[in-house]
């Protein structure tokens, strides 16, 4: 099967010549359509750095990223276009703009889509995305009026509104109680059913059990890769 997203020999080094920190060291991995991969590791192990590089949010110091077999270009404009067209992001802190309404937050990916959907279509897609996460009633609400679980569902609605093929979730349930975490993971896994590749960074074993395979990262290196049969 052709991978949707692939990293080849990716390294990331922060700092100047005098003080350098290697956040990622020669990491290679593939994400396939319709699978959920769990990325586990301790804090500071390089999970977020890897997600940022895979999601084209930051550039690797060395190595290459491929989307559907094509290498990602260096050009900022093209990277922006690819982020918009291919990715949905879910973060531990929800990454919601606090002083904009739920509707406005969910609409962000559509505002930069190419071609730009008509205003009416944008609105109906936002409403549809919010209905999918059970938050259609919150369309005009401010994020401050919502609970943590509801905010995370807003972030999920935003991630799915542009029909991405890769979902990158960085500790999506870390700030949630177990019941809410379960419902959020169910929503995230629904992307997989639609054919998207899902990569979830976590150190929660309960969440890890929901994945198809687990990658472990330590000090910037992938140390184990094992197939996991869902129980």
């Amino acid at each position: 099967m052709k991978p949707i997203l692939e990293a080849r020999n990716v390294s990331k080094v922060y700092g100047s010549n005098r003080i350098q920190v290697t956040a990622l060291d020669n990491v290679s991995l593939q994400l396939n359509a319709g699978e959920c991969v769990i990325l586990m590791g301790a804090s500071g192990s390089g999970k977020s750095t890897l997600l940022n590089i895979l999601g084209l949010i930051s550039k690797p110091t060395k190595g290459h990223i491929f989307i559907q077999g094509k290498e990602v270009p260096e050009n900022d404009r093209n990277r922006s276009r690819l982020r918009n067209a291919y990715f949905g992001y879910i973060h531990q802190d929800y990454a919601i703009i606090e002083n904009e309404t739920v509707e406005s937050n969910v609409m962000i990916p559509l505002q930069y889509a190419s071609p730009l959907p008509e205003r009416q279509e944008r609105k109906s897609r936002v409403l549809q995305a919010l209905e999918n996460v059970g938050l259609d009633w919150a369309l005009k609400k401010q994020p401050s009026e919502l609970s943590g679980g509801e905010r995370q569902r807003v972030a999920i609605a935003r991630a799915l509104v542009n029909n991405p093929v890769v979902i990158l979730a960085d500790e999506p349930t870390a700030a949630l109680d177990s019941e809410t975490a379960q419902s959020v993971m169910t929503l995230i896994l629904s992307f997989k059913e639609k054919g998207a590749a899902v990569l979830v960074a976590t150190h929660d074993d309960k969440v890890a059990k929901l994945g198809d395979r687990i990658l472990r990262i330590n000090d910037g290196r992938l140390i184990t890769s094992s197939e996991m049969i869902k129980s």
Binding site: Y89, A95, P109, Y112
Partner: protein, 360 residues
Amino acid sequence: MRELWAGVIMACRRWQAMLGISGMIAAACVVFALALEDVVSQVAVLKGGQHLREQHAVTFTPYYPQGEPTQVGNDTIQYVIDQINNRKGYTAIIHNMALDDPDFAGGYPTLILFGDVIPDLYPELPLCESVPCAMKGSKIVDEKINAVNIEGENIPVVGTLPAGATFFDPLAAGLPLDNRIVIRAPTKLLPLLNSIEKEEAITRTVLLDPEAKVVDTFITMNANSELYLIPHDIAVDQPQRFRELMGRSAIYIVGMLSFLLLVFIAFVSSARLTIRQEDRAFKIRAMYGATPFHLSLRIGGFLAAVVLIPPVALLSLLIVYLHIAGAPSPNVPLWVILGILLTFFLLWLWAIRSTKKIGG
């Protein structure tokens, strides 16, 4: 366009802080523009006296020991006429012409000039040529004023002065002419004037490169009529005034510039803080596909709403007001607008650079 507008809305969300700071900038810019306008017009007027300085003109200030009206003798008037007719001087009446006739010159203020040498002294002032003649200020639209009558002499109004025309009055400074009727009168009318008019004509006499004997004679003749005149050599006096004015202006301008600089520093800090507060929103947008161009437009809209639009709108109104009020240099606020534009672009560049790393 959508991103620009979104930037404006972003500024509106922080309207309390931004209104305060942009209001302060606007007020400081308006005060600065007014100060600058005043200085520029004063300097322009003083520069207008250049020909008088070159001619070593002597002017006079009156001193009235009795505090009573004086009776200028006919011999004194004739002496002034001789000087004027020999192109050795000129005189003017600004305030006291036809005080007993409210309909004189249609009720408009006048400037009566006596002397053929005047056009040579003020080449930048496009006066009518064949005396007697008169011209209307640019703001006088009364079509009925075709002529002005002085003591039976009908003086035709032959044209209109350009807007912003100013006469250099050696005893004061700039005399705006937009709302005045400027009359070039023949010297033969001087003896026919009443005593108040004659007195002003005498005190405003300007002698060009006179010998000491001429000045002494003129002062003595007037002293006999109990009009005591103190002579001033413009070549000495005006540079002194010019230096004083420039000194005062420098303090004025430096003070205002310092204040403006402080306001701008406060504004820049505030704007940078606000942009930093919006940094997370920029990152989220960049994550979902906003290009650096999108973000720079959004920041541009924000900065335009705060630093550009309020002060420029106020300064534009000020320009209109200065034009209506007939100020000598009504376009000076344009310089301040240019400064604001420069600040806007510098801030914008800084903000673009600081958000460039997002999504890199």
